[in-house]
């Protein structure tokens, strides 16, 4: 008996599905693909390009809201930046918290790792593999230190699932159930079994819906260093829209939107996120994580189905509105 995890998706020949043998296959391959899926389904949890991140000679702090797997699994962190001088050591420290409230947030460390850049102006990639993000985490804190010489451009923060090999037993959080070939490999070669058939769908859906896919991102430095928009203009402001691809999905899809924003004074209900020509939601700029569901209508077909999303915010006369982070997630079928 064993839980085998294929290193790539196993494709049953088309003819084997047309006229299946009275044998373990092709069901066994489908079930083993569940083990593959549990380990290798890897949509990004964090996929953020810092907003205005060039020529920095300070430590930058970014706090993206997240909704990690309910299985408390491992994730791999890839961070990309460029140093203007050669051979500069930069340390990336990542913490998590179950809530966000600025300076009152209680952070727990995930990792801290230094990487020395190569030649001046050349992209540095730091990879920190297989770090556990607890299921209760709602926000990460990146701290990226300044180089000793020159400046640093922050380009991209990427986090994607990289769970361990699939183990025996159900995953309590997601509800996914791996496949142990002991039953199917029994000498009597069990006949097609209702549970095995249905497990293919139930577990596939459980994995899909447990690993939320990043659909929208905007991030700037924490709190009062956040994006403040045009310096002198009060009233509504709008960022250029971005396209979110929702391949093969529609006609309507729900996105889960989270944001961290704050105001120096005045009204707090000042952040509006919506589809161009479609519905929108208003979120409060409270300095904490706020969120709501946004229904979008896809246009285009097949791989190119998409929704164009935009972010607007209001600046009260004499006050400042800070945009720190926006994170949108797509959950298949939700």
């Amino acid at each position: 008996m064993a839980v085998d995890t294929p290193v790539k998706i196993q494709i049953t020949k088309a003819y084997a599905l047309k006229l299946p043998e009275m044998a373990q296959e092709p069901l066994k391959t489908a079930l083993k693909n569940l083990n593959y899926l549990i380990k290798w389904h890897r949509p990004p949890l964090v996929d953020d390009c810092p907003m205005r991140s060039y020529g920095m000679s300070r430590t930058a702090t970014y706090t993206p809201p997240i909704t990690p797997s309910a299985d408390g699994m491992r994730y791999t962190f890839e961070t990309r930046w460029i140093c203007s001088a050669a051979a500069q050591s930069v340390t990336v420290t990542v913490d998590w918290s179950a809530f966000y409230d600025g300076g009152a947030t209680a952070w727990t460390n995930i990792f801290s790792q230094a990487t020395v850049s190569g030649a001046a102006g050349v992209l540095t990639l730091q990879t920190k593999a297989d770090q556990i993000i607890p299921l209760t985490a709602e926000v990460l804190r990146y701290q990226i230190t300044s180089p000793a010489s020159g400046t640093r451009d922050d380009h991209h923060l990427l986090v994607y699932p990289s769970p361990a090999d699939t183990a025996v037993g159900a995953l309590a959080g997601s509800g996914a159930v791996p496949f142990d070939d002991g039953g199917l490999a029994h000498a009597d070669e069990w006949p097609v079994h209702t549970e095995f058939i249905n497990r293919c769908k139930v577990t596939a859906v459980a994995v899909l819906q447990d690993r939320w896919q990043r659909a929208l991102s905007m991030i700037d430095e924490e709190r009062t260093s956040g994006y403040t928009g045009a310096p002198t203009t009060d009233g509504w402001h709008e960022l250029p829209p971005v396209r979110c691809y929702l391949p093969f999905q529609g006609p309507t899809v729900n996105l889960e939107i989270f944001a961290i924003a704050e105001v120096s004074g005045g009204t707090t209900a000042v952040l509006r996120i919506g589809q161009v020509g479609g519905k929108s939601i208003d979120l409060a700029a409270t300095g904490q994580i706020t969120g709501d569901s946004l229904e979008v209508t896809t246009t285009g077909t097949g791989e190119m189905a998409h929704a164009d999303l935009r972010v607007q915010w209001f600046r009260t006369a004499g006050q400042t509105t800070y945009l720190n982070a926006i994170a949108g997630y797509y959950i298949p079928g939700a």
Partner: protein
């Protein structure tokens, strides 16, 4: 006999019903094919193409401020991709004189240098990123091209090559002079059996 990909539209699928309710169903091909399909579709349906908002169109000190390096996690079975570039045209241009204003973009699998780099001229003229007054000023989203050419002899606007594997891959990417970017997996492998 090829097995073409058949990604599922989860938005119009019943995800809570069982494939079969009978305790001892016959080993019908349809049942087995359905069970197999749910798992394969979950694996090869492209991930959501994240729309990233940022400012790589404002120059304060260096032309490198127009550059944006990022990476995309690509689901199994991808062949080609297309990017959607967010652009903004507004006042207070800071573009250096004499510049030819083109967006440059590449994927690592297609190649990051020479003619492998896609150049996409913009009709917007000189631009400068700033947030836009509500009510709108000129901006647009443009998708990169559909030409299939893995050995270009010019910087044409074509499909981006992606790694074609039976497992997810991380594809390093680059784009310049934009206010946002996303990438769609525009073409899947024609026969899953080749993975």
């Amino acid at each position: 006999m090829a097995r073409p990909p058949n990604p599922r539209n989860y938005a119009s699928s019943n995800l809570s019903s069982a494939i079969v309710d009978a305790a001892t169903p016959p080993a019908e091909a349809l049942l087995l094919a359905s069970a197999d399909a749910w798992v394969v579709q979950a694996a090869i349906t492209p991930y959501c193409g994240c729309g990233r908002i940022f400012d790589s169109t404002t120059k304060a000190a260096s032309n490198t401020e127009f550059d944006r390096y990022f990476a995309v996690v690509v689901a199994p079975g991808a062949v080609y991709g297309r990017m959607a570039l967010s652009r903004a045209a507004i006042k207070n241009s800071v573009w250096p004189g004499g510049w030819t204003f083109v967006h440059e973009a590449w994927t690592n699998d297609g190649g990051p240098t020479g003619f492998d780099v896609i150049e996409l001229p913009t009709p917007l003229g000189s631009t400068h990123y700033r947030d836009l007054a509500f009510g709108g000023e000129q901006r647009d989203i443009i998708e990169t091209g559909t030409i299939e050419d893995n050995a270009p002899t010019d910087n044409i606007n074509r499909l981006f090559e992606l790694q074609t594997q039976g497992y997810p891959t991380v594809e390093p990417c680059f784009v310049s002079k934009v206010a946002g970017v996303s990438l769609a997996v525009s073409h899947l492998v024609e026969d899953l059996e080749t993975l």
